[in-house]
Amino acid sequence: MEIPQEVRDYIDSNRSPLPPLTDPDEPVQLDSLALIRLVAFLESDFGIKVEDEELILENFETLRRLGALLESKSPAAEAPELPKPDSSTVLPGWGGLRRDTR
C-alpha cells in the first residue's frame, strides 16, 4: 500500500523544522507522542488497525518500513471495526498528548 499523501504530510509537518522526507530510508525522526498520534490518525482516518504487536518503533522508523507495515493491511473498506475500550474513555481534564513547546 502506497503511503497516503495525508500521512506523508502529517509526518513532514511533525518533523518540522526538518525538511520534508524524500528518501524512503531516511529516519522519520518523529518523537514518540507524534508517533502515537500517527497511529491514532491511521486508525481513525484510514480505518487501518495497527496491531498491538506492531507497536514497536522499528515499524515507524522510515517511510519504507511504514509502507511495508501498511502493505500488510487490508484495504480501508474492509477494515474490521476496532474493539471498543471502556466507554468512559475520555476524562474531563485529561491532559492527553502533549508536545513540550519549550
Binding site: 502515537i36 475500550p85 474531563p92 491532559g95
Partner: protein, 454 residues
C-alpha cells in the same frame, strides 16, 4: 504475654491493619522496633491509597497537616521532548470514572500520624524487635519472640501474626512462608534524598499542579522521581542499574550529585542547585516475591511479601489496601473459620497476588515496550490505565482489564494460578532464568554491608 492479633511493624501497613481490625471489634498489639518519627521512602500515594485514608476518616487530619495535593503524574520522556500525564482518578459505586486527588506525604510525619491514630483508637503499641516466630506442632504461627530495647527477650503469644515488617520480610527470612524469590528489578539501585529550592509547576490543578509527581525517564532502567513533600522540600530519587554505580567507585552522595542531571535535561532546569536537606539513602536489589505468604496463624502484608519496582508509587497503596482486605479475614479466623484448612487465608492470598500480578504486567510492559505502553495509555486504553495508575488493580475492580490482557499478550506471558496459591512461573517472568531464590544471608543482606563491600 498474650493477645489475639500481633502486628509486626508499625508502618502504614501495620497501623492501617490495626485501625481496620478495631472496626471489626478487635484490638491488636503493634510491635515496632524504631522510635517514630523515622525516615522512610515511598512518599507518593495513588488515588486508591487516598481512598483508604478517607475510609479511615483521616481526611481532615491530612488536610490539617497540609500534605501536598497530587493531581496526577507527569512522565517526561527521554531528552524532555515529550511528556505525558496521568490524572489521579476515582470510581463511584456505579463505576463512573472521575478526576480525583491524592496526597504526597513525608513519611516520617504520615507514618507517625497513622501509628498515633491506631493507638488512640485502641491498639497497643509496644517497642521491641521480633526475633523469631513461635511455631506450634502443626507449624502454625502462634506468636513471636520479642527482644526488648533493654536486651531482654520474651515470648509473645498470639492467635495470628500480621507481618507488616516491610522490606525486612520478617516471616519470609525466618522461612515461615514459602521461598522468597528474586524479582525482575533486582539489578537496580535507588538513591534518594530531599532537596530545597527545586522549581515546580505553578498550576493549582490538573497537569500543571505544583505538587504533582514528576517522573523523568532516560532509557530502560534509568529514571528519576520528583515528589514535593511540603512548600519547600522535594523528594528526589535516582534509579540506575547497579553496575553503573559500581564502576564509578563514588560514594552514594557523589554519584547522586553527579549523575542525577544526566537522566533528563528537565532535571537541571527543575533543580538548578542541589541543596540537600537529607542524607542520600540507598536501596539496592529491591525486587522480590514471597510464595506462600499467608498460612495458619499468619498473613504477610505489602512489602513483607512482594515488591516490584518503585516507578509508579504503589508501595503505600498495596500495603494499606492489603491491610484493609485482611482485617475481615482475620476476624473470621478468630471466630474459628478455616482453622482446619492448610491455609485459612488462601483466598485472600490469591486475591492479593493477582492484584500485584496485574501491576507487574503494567510495570514490565512500561520497561520492555515503552512506545506500545504510551500508545495504550493515550490512545487505546486511557480509562483502563487511569484505573491501574490509581491503584485499582484487583479482581473486584474489573481486573485484569483489556489493557492488562494486552500487556500479557505482548509480554508473551500467561498467568496460571496453582490452585489457591501463586502465579506460575514466579519471580522474574520476563527473564525466567533470573527467577532465583533470594537467600536471606547472601549475597546482599543489608544496604550497609553492600555499600561497605563494594
Amino acid at each position: 504475654m498474650k493477645t489475639d492479633v500481633l502486628i509486626v511493624g508499625g508502618g502504614p501497613g501495620g497501623a492501617a491493619a490495626a485501625m481496620f481490625l478495631i472496626r471489626e471489634g478487635i484490638k491488636p498489639v503493634i510491635l515496632e522496633q524504631e522510635e517514630f518519627p523515622r525516615f522512610h521512602i515511598g512518599e507518593s500515594m495513588t488515588g486508591e491509597a487516598a481512598q483508604v485514608v478517607r475510609r479511615l476518616c483521616l481526611k481532615d487530619e491530612m488536610i490539617k497537616k497540609r500534605h501536598p495535593i497530587k493531581h496526577g503524574v507527569k512522565v517526561f520522556g527521554a531528552n524532555a521532548v515529550n511528556s505525558w500525564y496521568i490524572p489521579v482518578s476515582s470510581r463511584d459505586r456505579e463505576w463512573n470514572l472521575s478526576l480525583s486527588t491524592t496526597w504526597q506525604v513525608r513519611r516520617s510525619e504520615f507514618d507517625s500520624m497513622m501509628l498515633r491514630e491506631a493507638e488512640a483508637r485502641g491498639a497497643t503499641v509496644i517497642r521491641g524487635t521480633a526475633t523469631k516466630p513461635l511455631l506450634a506442632d502443626d507449624s502454625s504461627v502462634r506468636g513471636v519472640t520479642i527482644r526488648w530495647p533493654d536486651g531482654g527477650s520474651e515470648d509473645f503469644e498470639a492467635e495470628i501474626v500480621l507481618d507488616c515488617s516491610g522490606q525486612a520480610t520478617f516471616l519470609a527470612n525466618q522461612r515461615v512462608t514459602g521461598p522468597k524469590y528474586v524479582g525482575s528489578y533486582d539489578k537496580q539501585v535507588a538513591f534518594f534524598s530531599q532537596v530545597k529550592g527545586a522549581i515546580r509547576d505553578t498550576g493549582t490543578s490538573g497537569e500543571n499542579a505544583k505538587d504533582n509527581t514528576l517522573i523523568f525517564y532516560e532509557k530502560k532502567f534509568h529514571w528519576s522521581w520528583f515528589i514535593p513533600l511540603d512548600e519547600e522540600v522535594v523528594s528526589v530519587g535516582l534509579v540506575v542499574p547497579r553496575a553503573d554505580f559500581l564502576e564509578k567507585k563514588q560514594t552514594a552522595e557523589e554519584f547522586f550529585r553527579s549523575d542525577l542531571d544526566k537522566i533528563n535535561p528537565e532535571i537541571p532546569r527543575r533543580i538548578p542547585e542541589m541543596k540537600l536537606v537529607e542524607k542520600v539513602h540507598v536501596i539496592p536489589n529491591y525486587s522480590y516475591q514471597v510464595r506462600g505468604f499467608c498460612g495458619k496463624g499468619f498473613i504477610c502484608v505489602g512489602d513483607a511479601h512482594r515488591f516490584i519496582d518503585p516507578i509508579f508509587s504503589f508501595g503505600l497503596t498495596v500495603t494499606m489496601r492489603e491491610a484493609e482486605f485482611a482485617a475481615p479475614r482475620v476476624r473470621e479466623y478468630l471466630e474459628g473459620k478455616g482453622r482446619d484448612k492448610a491455609n485459612p487465608f488462601a483466598e485472600h492470598q490469591i486475591f492479593c497476588e493477582k492484584g500485584i500480578d496485574n501491576l507487574e504486567d503494567m510495570i514490565d510492559l512500561f520497561w520492555e515496550q515503552p512506545f506500545a505502553f504510551a500508545t495504550f495509555v493515550h490512545h487505546r486504553y486511557p480509562a483502563e490505565l487511569t484505573d491501574a495508575f490509581a491503584g485499582r488493580i484487583y479482581e473486584s475492580e474489573h481486573q485484569p482489564s483489556a489493557a492488562i490482557l494486552t500487556f500479557r499478550k505482548l509480554l508473551k506471558r500467561t498467568r496460571e494460578y496453582d490452585q489457591d496459591d501463586y502465579s506460575v512461573p514466579i519471580g522474574s517472568r520476563f527473564h525466567p532464568e533470573r527467577a532465583a531464590l533470594w537467600e536471606p544471608n547472601s549475597p546482599v543482606p543489608t544496604t550497609e554491608e553492600w555499600m561497605g563491600a563494594r
